[in-house]
Symmetry: C3
Subunit: 144 residues, 3 copies
Amino acid sequence: MRAHAFRLTPGTDLRAELERLTQTHALRAACILSGVGSLTRAHLRMPGAAGDPEAFATFVEPLEIVSLAGTLGPDGLHVHISLARADGACVGGHLAPGCIVNTTAELVIGELPDTEFRRRLDPATGYAELSVQPRRSEGDPPAS
Amino acid sequence: MRAHAFRLTPGTDLRAELERLTQTHALRAACILSGVGSLTRAHLRMPGAAGDPEAFATFVEPLEIVSLAGTLGPDGLHVHISLARADGACVGGHLAPGCIVNTTAELVIGELPDTEFRRRLDPATGYAELSVQPRRSEGDPPAS
Amino acid sequence: MRAHAFRLTPGTDLRAELERLTQTHALRAACILSGVGSLTRAHLRMPGAAGDPEAFATFVEPLEIVSLAGTLGPDGLHVHISLARADGACVGGHLAPGCIVNTTAELVIGELPDTEFRRRLDPATGYAELSVQPRRSEGDPPAS
């Protein structure tokens, strides 16, 4: 596993920056190893039962990032976050666009060298779910 | 460190699957690097003071996995989890059997190549606590 | 990435021990990969808006460590934690001195071999923020 570390600066959109880093570093299978920092605003998708419409919540207040986890690859990312509020109580959910860095976010991302993360629609869930594949080298013919 | 990635499917018991993966991949010292996904049901052991009887809590509702951490080895696993509820509020504790995957769980597990995790009863705590040891090669005589 | 694992024993101050491990193992760029365990007491810095005086909260009760994340290096550490209370509800924040291990804390720390974490005052935030640098070898002249 190869690790990459980054500091994000105030005003950065956390999800957009993870997407940008995935592209810039051509990450074909990676995960978040550690993430700390703070947000001024969070926009999260909430858990729901199958068939429910998607629900989102927005928190506009100083928040500490207390956990950040998930997978990154060429077909997209799947990242969850939890955040401490001013009284310490934690809120969390699925990282959506609109989570804005307050003072900093320190990220360490781990790259799996022999693996490729793809996402394919799983009819059982309705989502593009993670498929863990051996990494094809540059010269291989495209998958059919 | 060598990394392994897995996608768990709906209905899987998260703790039982972590135990099965530890056995199948003969993990002698590993930890959870990143975990995201969702549960339909959580069964967690709650924190308690020394000498208290063990207490458990069950949550039967859509939950997002926002953190998953801990160690895996031949003498068992020690994993804690936190989960976001429908309003974003987080609950957590010690992962017990009975945590059931909703749509998916994406896990990245890191294996420490030169290390062996054993667990031995610590009279100070009453639990089988982690002992970090150098990994013995296959041909070594058994430890006394 | 090279991984180090540790078990902390009852009564240990978690932040002081992370600082001691960073010095003892001469960690020049590391992050927490996984952390589980329990505390008898937590002392956390709470999120705040820019310019607010720093606020702290103390929890003296059995707590489970459900997430622990952050970076370690020669200029200091930046670690956030979240904890489950007796009813499962989670609280979290910036790890301050005074978080005391109950029965155990199991830590896996990952070291980035080619990287050096430094911290320099960022006038935009007022904090010594992470700077990710290539690691200088022992024989290099000091940075100006």
